[in-house]
């Protein structure tokens, strides 16, 4: 109820209508202590501009990097981040939780 996501989803719509490539990242699952609840959105355009957050700053950089690839390829991805995750991006959540983030292109 307190999410301001409508502002960022509005931005995503505007970007797309202006001809930008746009991706939406959504937290779909969380375990343990996670900074942002399921349903939280981050929107990214093809210039690397992003709004919103999926983790409060811990993994946004990695999500944006992936999102730029996904805008190129059109192929969505499910990303997982956790404190012990050393394989994917060398970024993790200092709070010790694990989150799954779905990143999709706006078609």
């Amino acid at each position: 109820m307190l999410e301001r996501d409508e502002d960022i989803l509005h931005a995503a719509e505007e970007w797309k209508k202006a001809g930008h490539g746009v991706a939406i990242a959504t937290v779909v699952e969380t375990w343990g202590s996670a900074p942002r609840p399921a349903g939280s959105n981050l929107v990214i355009n093809d210039e690397g501009t992003f709004l919103g957050s999926v983790s409060g700053g811990c993994v946004e950089g990695a999500v944006v990097t992936e999102a730029l690839d996904i805008i190129e390829s059109g192929k969505p991805k499910l990303l997982e981040f956790g404190v012990a995750d050393e394989t994917a991006f060398n970024v993790g959540l200092s709070c010790g939780g694990t989150i799954r983030v779905f990143v999709e292109k706006v078609a």
Binding site: E3, E29, A38, E104
Partner: protein, 245 residues
């Protein structure tokens, strides 16, 4: 429905299409709740307006998610579905541009509420006293209807003046605000309840009022009272309610 794309490592493959996104934004702009349901298994995606839930194959599950205001994975019909609940941004309407409101309004804004302060007394309802807050210097009967007060509104009446607070509270009942609070001692509140019932309020209506307002934390200063009110509103918003498990 979002377009279906190729399967990708067993992960649901889908894309939010612009039409779905646009429809979702229309619902959100109108402060109507909506849900986006995504089948992680096969990539189907659809938006469901809260008003269209009746008869939906997932009506019971979606209503539960909506009631809790919580997005998450659900299992239904043997599928793993991600339900994203888009409920409107919470608002706060404060009746009374008093000292407490000067502390409460910026606090509520910091917590993400859209805040409007209403007070017909122009000496109180001055922009100088409320920088960056929407202040409406009108009586509640004029000020409130255009605000479209709804369920996603926390309603706080703190003028101490029945001529101002009472009609405002009746409006809050009619609009089913998720939180209604009114300033005043138990004695003042008992008199208020009698007046409201005389004006047509039901027992269920008056039971919704949190009074004396705020959690009992021994608040003394206006800032402390604002904290107690804000904490009570947060509890009302976030703590699970009976029957919603």
């Amino acid at each position: 429905m979002g377009p279906r794309l190729r399967e990708d490592d067993g992960v649901g493959v889908f894309a939010m299409n612009l039409e779905t996104l646009t429809q979702l934004n229309v619902e959100r702009a109108a402060r109507r709740p909506a849900l986006v349901v995504t089948d992680i298994g096969n990539g189907d995606q659809r938006m469901v307006k809260a008003a269209d839930l009746a008869g939906d194959p997932l009506e019971a599950e979606l209503r539960k998610q909506l009631r809790m205001g919580k997005s998450g994975m659900i299992e239904a019909e043997g599928k793993r579905l991600f339900v994203n609940v888009y409920a409107p941004v919470a608002r706060m309407v404060v009746i009374g541009a008093v000292h407490i409101s000067q502390a409460l309004a910026p606090m509520a804004r910091a917590l993400g509420y859209d805040v409007t302060v209403v007070d017909p007394r122009t000496a109180f309802a001055s922009p100088e006293r409320f920088p960056d807050v929407r202040v409406v210097a009108e009586w509640p009967d004029v000020a409130l209807p255009p605000l479209n007060v709804d369920h996603y509104t926390a309603f706080v009446a703190v003028t101490h003046d029945p001529k101002i607070d009472d009609p405002a509270l009746l409006h809050a009942f009619a609009r089913d605000c998720f939180y209604i609070g009114a300033l005043g001692s138990r004695k003042t509140h008992a008199k208020r309840l009698a007046r409201l019932v005389a004006q047509g309020a039901s027992e269920a209506d008056i039971a919704k009022i949190h009074a004396p307002i705020g959690l009992p934390i021994g608040a003394v200063s206006p800032g402390e009272v604002a904290v107690s009110i804000m904490a009570q509103i947060t509890a009302q918003l976030r703590l699970p309610k009976e029957g919603t498990s």
